[in-house]
Structures are given as C-alpha cells and as structure tokens.
Symmetry: C2
Subunit: 342 residues, 2 copies
Amino acid sequence: MKKEITIYDIAADVGLSPTTVSRALSNHPRVKEVTRNKILHAAKNMGYQSNIFASSLRKRRSKSIGVIVPRLNSAFQSSVLAGMEKIATQAGYNLIISQSMESLEKEISNTKIMFNSRVDGLLVSKAGTTDNIEHFQPFFQKDIPVLFFDRVPENNHCTGVVINNTQAIYDATAHLIKEGCKRIVHVLGNLQINVYADRLKGYKYALMDHGFVFNADNVFTNELDEDSGERIVEKILKLNPRPDGLLVSNDTSAASCLIALKKRGIKVPEDLAIVGFNNDLISRMVEPNISTINYPSYHMGEVAMKNLINHLDDENQEILQKTNTITLRSALIIRDSSKRRH
Amino acid sequence: MKKEITIYDIAADVGLSPTTVSRALSNHPRVKEVTRNKILHAAKNMGYQSNIFASSLRKRRSKSIGVIVPRLNSAFQSSVLAGMEKIATQAGYNLIISQSMESLEKEISNTKIMFNSRVDGLLVSKAGTTDNIEHFQPFFQKDIPVLFFDRVPENNHCTGVVINNTQAIYDATAHLIKEGCKRIVHVLGNLQINVYADRLKGYKYALMDHGFVFNADNVFTNELDEDSGERIVEKILKLNPRPDGLLVSNDTSAASCLIALKKRGIKVPEDLAIVGFNNDLISRMVEPNISTINYPSYHMGEVAMKNLINHLDDENQEILQKTNTITLRSALIIRDSSKRRH
C-alpha cells in the first residue's frame, strides 16, 4: 500500500498552513470558499482519505452497525437487509453483516467479531439453536445497544421488532375453518424459535375458539425448505381421516407442498386448502396462487435500524431501554389456494 | 458508554505487569498457560475489547471488505453474498455491505463511504447507469484492490468474476432452434450492463450460425421484474408472424411471462417455448418448470472473496493484477417449458 497522505502533505502542496487545511476539510466556517475549494481539490488529487477511522476511535464511535442473520440466502432476510441498508446509509452508518448459519456456535463467534470491530449497535435475528443470550453480555456490559428482529429471545431486557405471529396464524386458522376445513395440519420450523412457538399458540387458540380439539398428530415440525413438500404430503396421506386444510410456515414450503399434492392428483383447494406465510414472490406465481400472511420484511428492516440509530443519537438513551417490543402490522391475504366456498 | 477497560486495569486486577497482560492477550509463547487463562478470564469478566480497531489502524488494515451490489433484495445477490460471507468469516474479515439501487450517484456515494471506512478491498457489481469507473480512482491510487463480479465495467484494469454470458445465451438460442422455434424473442435488461450486452451477442451469433436473420424487433429491453410478463406478452402478440420462442434474462420475468401466456390460453411450450436465466427457485416451482441457465451465484461469491483475500495476503500482490477475468462454469438446464419435440 502506498504512503498515507496527511494534511501536512496537502498543506505543503497548496502552500497553506496545516491548520487551514484541517479547517477546510472539516468545513470550518472561518475558511473562505475559494480556499476551501482549492484544498478539497488538492486533497482529492492526492488521494487523501478523510480519517473517519481515527476520528471514530477518538469519539469511540465506529459509525458501523452489526447485523447477524440466520442466513443471508433467504428472500425474507434479503428484504429486511435492504430496508436496513437504506436507513443506515441515510444516517451515515455502515452495515457489517454476518450469518449464523442457524448455529449457536457460529452466532457466538459472529458476536465476538462484531464486539471487537466496535460496532455502535447490533441487530440480531437469532439462530435456531440459540437458547440463551449470554454471548451478548459483553455488549450489555458496555451499554452497546442490541436489538432483535423477527426471531427474538424470550425473557430478555432487549428490544425486539416482531409481527404478532400468534394473531397471524390465529387468523389463518379461523379462515380455513370458515372455508369448511375440519382437520387442519400445521407445519412449523424449530419450536425453540419464538416465531414458531407463537404461531403454534395461534393455531391452538383458533381451534379452541371454534370448538375443535387440538391433536398433536396434526402438527409437523419440519425444515420448511424447497424439497419439504414431498415429505409433508407423505405424512399427510398417512393420517386418517385425511386432513383438508394445510397451514405452512413459509411460502417456499407451501409451494413445494402444492406441487407434491398436484402430482398425486389431490385438488387444491377442493381436497386440501393451503395457506402459506411471508407473501414471497413464489406465492403469487404458482397455480393456484397461495393464500398467505403478508410479512412486512422491508419495513421491519427500516424500523429496526431507525430505532437503533435513534437510540444512538438520543442523549438520554431512554426510549429503547423502556421499549420491550415493537410489533408491525401483518395481514392475511386470501387467494385461490384456500377459497373453498363458491 | 462506560469507561474503556485497558490492559492496565486488567493488570491491576490480576496483580501482574501490563507487559504480561499484553503478552497473554496476544498469545505470546512466554506466558504460562495458567497465567494466560487467569488473564483471559479477568479480561472477559471486565468487558475488555481487544483493540482490533486501534491495532488495525497501526497496521493500516481494517480487516474489512466492502461489497457494493445493485440491490440487496435479490435472490441472485443474496446468494452471492452468502458465499462471500462464508469465505470472509473464515479468513477473519468483516463484510461491509451497501446497495447502489442501480444508481450511479448512489454508487459514487457508496464508494466514498467505503474508502473513508478504510476497507482493505472492494467487491462491486455495478449499477445499471454506471458508465465509467472514475469513482474508483481513489482506490486505484492507494493500491486498494477492487474486484468486480457479475456486472463488470468494460476496458478496465480490474479483475472481474463472471460467467460466459455470450455462450450461455448462445446455447439457449441453439436449443430453442433445435426444438423447432423459428422466431425467438429475447428479453434483456439495460444494454449498458455487460451482462446483457454479452447475452445479446450470444443470441445474434446463434441465429447467424443456424442460418437465421437477426431482427431488432425481436429484442425487448425491459425491467425484468415480477410484473413484466403482461407487458412482454402484449408486445409479443403484436408481432407478425407470432414468435414461437422466448428467451428471458431472468427467471422471475420468465415465470411472469409464463403466467401471462397461460392466462391468454397460449400453450407453453407448444405455442411458445420459454427459457429463463439464473436457475432461481421460481423456475422449479411454476408449471411447466422453466428451462434456464444455471448461474453459480453462491460459488461466484466464494470465488470473488477468495481471490480478493488471497491478493491481500500475497506479498507480491501479482496474481490479481495479472488476472483480467475469472470465468465460472454455467450450464443450460432443459425443462418442460422448452421441450417441443416428443
């Protein structure tokens, strides 16, 4: 790497004092417009790097926010990140991003790197196997704010940005019941994750409120991936009486189920009505279109980042500490995959 | 923020010299195992932050890599980023990520932030409106490596990681001709982007090699988004004779076209055969499944990051300077949307 250009080099080049150069570079009002322009021009030509890095060190601010997601390679997370990036850039913050690959060990290692990189704040959607938040203690000790989104730990003193997962699945279950479904299967991810535990509650409450008995055989915990449809449909076909409703916790898996059902000549929604989750592109592209829960992922990214930055800029730093949960609006979108009444 | 813990605080706590503490924290072999453990334990309890930040400043290494993509909210880019993150984390680098939103102005502003954040290297997939690379000059001047991926500028001295877009579309066009297509429409993005300019070449070459005459009416430059299908199909229906082959530069738009065609009772592949691009999930989920080009996006992320880090770790720094282009293998995947012969 070449020699670092300093304000002394620029001063020598333009024939002015280092003090004037320093003032011009920091937009000091005492420097005349014409002088400032001359200095900025020289600084640019010489390849001067304004020393955010060193000045951040003095102010104990790195002007960067760490983000840890379970997987970068996800339609949901990439939409959240796009919303976060927009707000962060507007506020002059960098985004340092890593993925936990759904592993607690990797998440612990990610948090260490973020801590030592001196992020000003941390946004986390936790890994499936994360059952405690002890690895965030170094952040808590130093009053570096940690804000969770989507997947939040239970019983903690951090703020979480979420949707009402219980209500969302309650509404979807009630909708299927209204469409005449008598036996509804619910497919979920790892129940250690609040998101799925809350959805299971919504499913149970809706059954109860409509006079149905909860049956654990109707709950499948699965990987919800692109190939899950075959496995899920095989399990459904073994149940007697055969289920007539299917509530799947993401649209990729719901679409995969739809394809596996059609392959077997089982009609959707006539034989089996389907509701997915997220409102991903895929739900609008398969036939029939899949009813789903609209999850405002981009908006979640914006809100989480905005709250974190407001907290950093707030002298009192009280608002975030007193906020436990920020809940965003989600909504059931009814499409052809679950319309059984004509 | 609370008071910063220094090695002097730890030394006072454990009753050892600051030198010993410093050595223990940097894994110096002269410190006994039991002493080291005692010091590490105290450092952890006291909330000591190992000073990567300051030590990076001394070494002129921030241990971070900047990545600028057109949009974070894209199946292709999120897969590339996942590959990059994996390699970067393994090598102890942070990823600083931003999106240009397809705007040259935003890309210029992103590069300035990256430069002042002192990234050790930069990975860029350029915005649609970027027609020069002057804004990377500060990096070139300081010998900070810049590596482009997917969307690379023409005539530059930077390395690019790409697929052979010309060959990919050549193969797809030849396939459609072999399936009996006589008039093939090609839908592309902004032709200022190398990716699309190269694909157009492949389309022209394949037509020529098979005795067809190129007709500019058959080339649509479009936005390739989720809603593009209706617009594209409307244009196709105005052509006379009606096209019988359709080559679309991404799978989202190809799927959108498929749906718009089916809505009008136009049979795929009998009336119109379709080939998409990327091998996104959507291509495997719609009916019929869409033939496509397998784009190794995750692998592209891994390769780009690996090459950049190897360059940073290489004393001679010659390999990357002498490499112009790294081309990854792509391949045509034939599915039902283009199988017209029985």
